[in-house]
Each structure stands twice: as C-alpha cells, then as structure tokens.
Subunit: 465 residues, 2 copies
C-alpha cells in the first residue's frame, strides 16, 4: 500500500514539475528527493532497500580466509619474537594535526573523520607516524617494537593476481639519491618531488617518468637524462665500490655518507649469508617524505613460465627505511630519535596465499574442535549436554549439534565437512555400561572407552595436551 | 623573532577590541584566532607546537600493557575455540546507511567519516550490525563465530577503578520486558524509550529513572509505579515459576513466551551446573534496539572490604542477547536469521587486570627472548653476529646489544632488566676452544658448551622445543 501511494506521489510531483517548466537544477533536486523517497519506501513487503556491500577498497574475511591470515600472522610474529621484539598498539585514529605534513604528496589520501564537535581526527595512514608520536609522547629513545594493525588510504589498490616464486629485497639510501640528484643538477627545492617520480619506476617505464620530471615538474632534460643513467644501476658490493670511485658522486658529502653506510650494511649481510637475496638498486626511492637514510623493499618475483623466461618483479610486499627526523617533529625541542623499520603488506601476501590454497584444493580447517558429542538414539539431548559439559570443563575442544534429535548420519557428516577427527557417541546401552563409544572419523574405527578415561583418550588421540 | 611579532600582533588586536567595545562573541572569536595563531607560531627554535596526545577516549598500549592484554585475549580465544567457534573479520568502517536505524537512541554516538567524495562511511559502533550485514550479504544462516576488534563510540567512558572479586551473569528477556510494559499500561509506541530508561537502573536509583519516565518521556505515574514493582524482582527458577502464575503477566502472550524460554534456559544452566552464577533480573534491559529475546550481562562484584559488607556490583564486563530481526533488515526479502551473541568488554577487563598486576609487583616479560649473545672482550661484534645468525636460523629467540663494544656488565644487566634467562658469551679463548660459555642469569652458573651442542642446550634449558 505504501508503495502505491509513493508511486502516485512521484507521478504527481513530475506532473507539477512539467507544468511549472521548472529550472533544470530544481528538477535535479526534486529527482534526488524522489530517489531518496523511493529508497525509503521501495522494496518487497515495505522493507528498506540496502546496498549490501562493504565500503570500496575493503573486504570481509570469512573463517577460511581468517585461517589463512592467521598462518601469515603467526609466521611473521614468530620472526619478530625470534629477534626479541616487543609489541605495542595505538588508536586507529589520531589528531588530524599529528598526521599533517608527514607524508608529502600522499597526504591527500588520508581519511578524515567528520567534525562532530570536539577534536579533529583522521584515520592512521601508516603505523610509522603514530609510532613516532608514541615515542615522543613517552620520551622513549630505545625500543624494538612490532605492531600489527590496519591502516587506511583513500586510493584504489589494484589487486595483483598471479603466482609467485620467491622474493628478494632491494636496497637504496635517501642520501645516495639526494647526492645523485645534486650531482645531476636537480635544484634542492625539487629533491622530494623528483624522488616521488623516481619512485614510480616500478610501475612505469623510464620514458614516462622522464616526461613527468621534465613536463610536469619542470626539470631540465639534461638533469633528467643524467638521473636516467644512474637509476638503471643495480648490484652489490661491486656497485658500491664503483660508485665510491665515481668522480662526481664521490665528491658529494651526502652520497659519500650513504655509500659508506651501504658498504657497512653489505658487510653485515655477508656475515648473515644473505647477500644473494639483496640488490642495491639506485632506482628505489619509496614514496613517503620521512625517510632519511637506507630504504628497502621486498619484491615478489613471478613464477617462471614454461618457456624459461626471466622472472619478472610483480610488486612489493614489504618496505621501509630509516627515518631519523620524524620523532623530532613531535618533540617540543626537536630532539632527534633515530629510527629504522619495515612494514609488511599483509593483504598482498594474504591474497597470494589465498590463491595458492585455492589452487591446491587443500582442505582448510576453520575450527580446532577435537570431538563431536553425538547420540545414536532420540531423547538424549540432556545426556549430550552433560557429557560435553564434562569435556569443556577438562579443556577439551568439543561441539554438539543444536538439534534436539539429530540423526547419527548427519552428525557424522558434520565431522566429515568440518574436519573434526573424533566422535563421542552416547546411547542407552553406553549409559548403562558407563562407557562412551569413541569413533575415529577417518578410519571408522569404534571403541568403547570408560567414561572416566574419555578425556585422557581424546587428548592422547589428538595429541593436544 | 616570529614569536615577538606574534605577541605584538596579539596586543594590537586586544587594544582594538577594547577601543571598539566589541560584542562578547566577537571577542571570543578573536581570542580563538589568537590562540590558534599562537599554537602555530610559538615554541622554541621556530618548531611547531604539537599537542602530544592520543584522541580523547583512546589510549596507547605499551609493551607491558600488551603483554597483559594478550593474556586476556588468549584466555578468551581459548574459550571460544573450546566451543568450536570460527573467527571472522570485517572492515573498521561500514557504509553509513548500514548502521542507520539499528541502535535507537545510541545512534547519535556513531563516528562518521568526512565526506571526501565517494561513499558516506561511519566507523563501526559494534560488531553485531556488521556481522548481520555479513550474514545477509553471504546468505549464511548457520555459523558460530567470534570476532575480536575495536568498536568506536563518541561517548565519555568513565573508567571504573577498584578491585573485583568475582562476577556473575544476569539474564532477562526482551519479551518479558515488553509484556511487562504492556501489562503496566505503557503504550506500544513508548516500549523502546521506556526500555532505555530501565537500562539506566545500573547507574541511577529508581527514583531518577522514574522521573525520566514520567517527566521526560510522558509516561503516566501509575504505569511507572507498576514497572517499579516488577523491576526490583530478581531470582532463579522460583521467580520464573512465580511470574508464570502472575495473574496479569501470564495473560500476556509475549511475556509468557519469554518466561517459557527462560525456564528452558534455566534447565540447561542446571545441566551445566552454573545456576549459582546466574540471576534472572527484571531490571536488566540493555540499551540497544535490536534485541528480540533473551538478554544478559556479566557483572563484576567489588572485592569485599574488611567490614564484611555485601559485595557491590561495579559494572558490566560483557553483555549480549538474541537479535532475530537484524539480519532480516539487510535481506531484500526480509528473511529472518535468528542470532544470539555476547560481547566482551576487553578494555574494562584489561584495566582491572592492569591494576591487579601493578598492585602485585609481578614482573611482566614483554619479550620471549631465550638468550642474549654477549662478548667478554672488545672487537667481537662480527663473532656475536655470526653466533646469533646461527641461533636465529635454528629458531632460537635471541638478542644482541647494538653497541660495537658493550661491557659484559651492561650485557648482564640488560638480561636482569628484561628477564632473559640465558647468556651465550663468546670470547677469544672460547672461539679458540670451539665452545660458548652459557651463563644462567638467575644462578650465575657458567658452563662451557661445545658450539655444535649450543642450540640443543638452550632449548633444553628454556623448555621451548
């Protein structure tokens, strides 16, 4: 009924609009009103029409996805703990001014909260700036921390699809870049914006990046060409030695400092036996403003195809660097606290693993349930609840179907579907005998266990003590 | 210099304001401008002045707090897993319209995001509405899930302080409440708003709640007084039986349904042996609109004091109920999916545990490091790095001090401070002999271990295989 009335009302408004020869923007307003009205009235049985979706750029994680995500997390956390890291947490939003002036060209991608009275807030854009705020606020100068949390950026992430074979890290140093810019003839004022252009070399060919430098950013073509020669260089200790001999670069104070530290880094990498995984890459720039020294990225290589072509880089899964100035920006006296860190792109690693699991048809368990408490006859709900209560109290992970009188076949099928390895079956005879029938789902083996030994037997068979 | 100019400018503005005999609100505006100007200009060395704080109502968690928080989480997660629950995750914000019309009077506390183009978004207010959206979107009708995440409310939470002895759960049913409202003479249209008033009984005395009902919400004094008689009732199976005999309540269809289900619930609670922890409480209302049946809260009781007074409820740490209509609000055809859930207030439980740990002077470890790799002489940085690299590769949790030539005493002190139980010391003699000196921090016992047996010995002594 409400619908019909609304449709009649709409028709009437349209008719009046036509007669009145209303202005286009008046019509537009009325149409917007009508659409809103329709949204509120329309739909079956007078129900509201909702757009059933998550916000753009976000997704839900169902139980299967969460099981995969927790594998990723536990591998990463184990690594952090192996190296003695502590964990911290900070709020999902910060005062807007805390984030202002920290990200350079990326600042336009920050999510602001609506001004609803009180403080002006923004969602965190990364974990680095909140960490620097935390250090300055608590006057901490020495900490090795990890922090696992979501960050929010108003961009349109392109989800890379494909299979990945392995990854490597590439390394550079902001001081080498800045020294390089200086010796190539980039004016000081353009260092950061030209650095942003160099950062696009993983997604664009050099020609396009050069056009941006010269066309959009007003760099001289000669300076751009000199940069073009440097940024194609990549290598290891050899390249460092070569650049330390470079007549122009070696005269630049910043570049020399950067190259000296890069040499030391490669000495440590040699001690750790991982130089083969690391490439010193003069095209690596990193988008964010706050880096002051070494910068690095972990890059995935696509699986080689059948034709044995060279593996292709398909994107960065982690990145970071040294940011010695950021904490000082929060300190009233500008005291510097040197920092170095890495950020791991969980979403990307997760989507790669998700594809791999889908391709492998591996069956993923989404619970850790050890045993299903089942009954073979009707009217045993109370007995099932009594038994599961005993098991829960003993710390056994157990489930029971919610139906009053489920069929045994359905209970066994539930175990097959969800991967529960054991079934504890109570029936009238078992109750009389003081036993429980324990069934192994995989082998269909059944054995009567005395009720007082059941907990121990389940633990023994599922190896979870 | 900038500061002086700003001060002169301020004085000038104040002078002009005085001469002009400006209106008070004009003055207020000028003062606000000046304060803002001051904030931007003031400070040493021309540095910007930042307000070094987290947004109101939020806090950081440092490593010690995180260690406590993870204890809480692992206890809760173990409980969920014991009962066969799966885990999901949803985005921190939702389309604004997803949250609209779900929370009743609480909707004003929702954080909206600023309209920066694109979709209108709000931060999630709870995990229940996003869960209902997830169920409807994925057409899921059967799932037992848990979800651990932060929710966002624009209120001023009062942090309860105090020591707590134990907690109990109180239970009620929305249908019993609605039936009670009906038989007390509350008009249908006022059910939800009167329910919101009843919900305040844990923070306000009955007299104030009655004033709100009659004064603000226009309920007749007689109806309010009838409600007043019911809401003081609490008990167990006895009370259920008594109300099933209540001449008015037992005639109401909703109340009768609610009481019937409450009786069944108490039968199950008896099977689980936990009736002693549960109180059927007619004053329990829960603030949110979406509950349709049983509702409950877990309430902490304050530690008894020396005078043996009765324990006092100091606040709810968990709450929930049945919400059979919420998923249907998202379904285009309004199909109902019955749901029941509980939400645990981690922040509150955490702050209670934090106080307890502080009071106990228990030493909390913030890392799991098993061994510190140390050296007794100078110039052994490379040897320390080689050894720790071996340990890391074997999965041992190990740390090394960052200094080039740290003193042995400082290295031992670091272990005392952070709770690292073992020290692996390399010196020239040990290197020559192919051994490492393993020191037990607690007992100061030192023993030479052959380098190839070191990993095994550390595992054995820290019991982490």
């Amino acid at each position: 009924m409400a619908d019909e009335a609304a449709v009649r009302q709409q028709a009437e408004v349209v008719r009046r609009l036509k007669q009145d020869k209303a202005e286009p923007d008046e019509i537009a307003k009325e149409v917007a009103k009508l659409l809103e009205m329709k949204a509120h009235l329309g739909g079956d049985e007078g129900k509201h029409k909702f757009v059933l979706k998550t916000p753009k750029g976000t997704r839900d994680y169902g139980p299967k996805q969460m099981a995969i995500r927790e594998r990723v997390f536990s591998a990463i956390i184990a690594c952090f703990k192996r190296h003695g890291a502590e964990v911290i947490d900070t709020p999902v939003f910060e005062l807007k001014e805390t984030l202002t002036g920290k990200y350079g060209e990326d600042s336009k991608l920050i999510y602001d909260l609506k001004d609803q009275g009180g403080e002006l807030l923004s969602l965190r854009y990364d974990l680095t700036v909140p960490f620097a705020r935390y250090l300055a606020m608590n006057k901490i100068t020495n900490i090795k921390r990890y922090h696992i949390a979501k960050v929010y950026r108003r961009d349109n992430p392109a989800m890379t699809r494909g299979r990945y074979r392995e990854f490597y890290q590439c390394v550079n140093d902001r001081r080498i870049l800045d020294g390089m810019f200086a010796v190539c003839g980039v004016p000081d004022s353009k260092f950061r914006t030209i650095c942003s252009s160099v950062d696009k070399l993983d997604k664009m060919p050099w020609e396009e990046v050069r056009n941006e430098m010269v066309g959009e950013k007003g760099l001289s073509p000669e300076a751009a060409d000199r940069i073009g020669e440097y940024v194609q260089l990549h290598g290891g200790m050899d390249l460092i030695e070569q650049l330390l001999q470079d007549p122009k670069l070696s005269q630049n104070k910043l570049a020399k400092e950067g190259l000296g530290d890069m040499k030391l880094l490669f000495e440590y990498l040699t001690l750790f036996g991982i130089t083969g995984k690391i490439s010193f890459d003069l095209s690596l720039a990193r988008g964010l403003d706050y880096y002051t020294g070494v910068i690095y990225e972990a890059v995935l290589l696509q699986q080689e195809n059948d034709h044995g072509e060279e593996s292709v880089s398909v994107g960065s899964v982690a990145g970071g660097g040294r940011y010695d100035g950021l904490v000082g920006m929060f300190d009233p006296k500008g005291r510097k606290v040197p920092c170095v860190g890495i950020s791991i792109g969980i979403e990307r690693i997760f989507s790669i693993l998700e594809q791999r699991v889908e391709a492998s048809e591996e069956k993923i368990r989404t619970t850790e349930t050890q045993v299903l408490v089942a009954s073979a006859q009707k009217k045993l709900l109370e007995e099932r609840l009594k038994l599961i209560s005993e098991l829960w109290d003993a710390g056994i992970k157990a489930e029971v179907l919610y139906k009053k009188n489920p069929k045994l076949l359905n209970q066994l099928q539930y175990c097959e579907d969800t991967g529960i390895p054991l079934v504890a079956i109570v029936g009238e005879q078992e109750l009389k005998d003081g036993v429980v029938k324990l069934r192994v789902v995989a082998t269909r083996e059944e054995v009567n266990i005395r009720r007082e030994s059941l907990v121990e037997e389940i633990r023994r068979r599922t190896n979870q003590l």
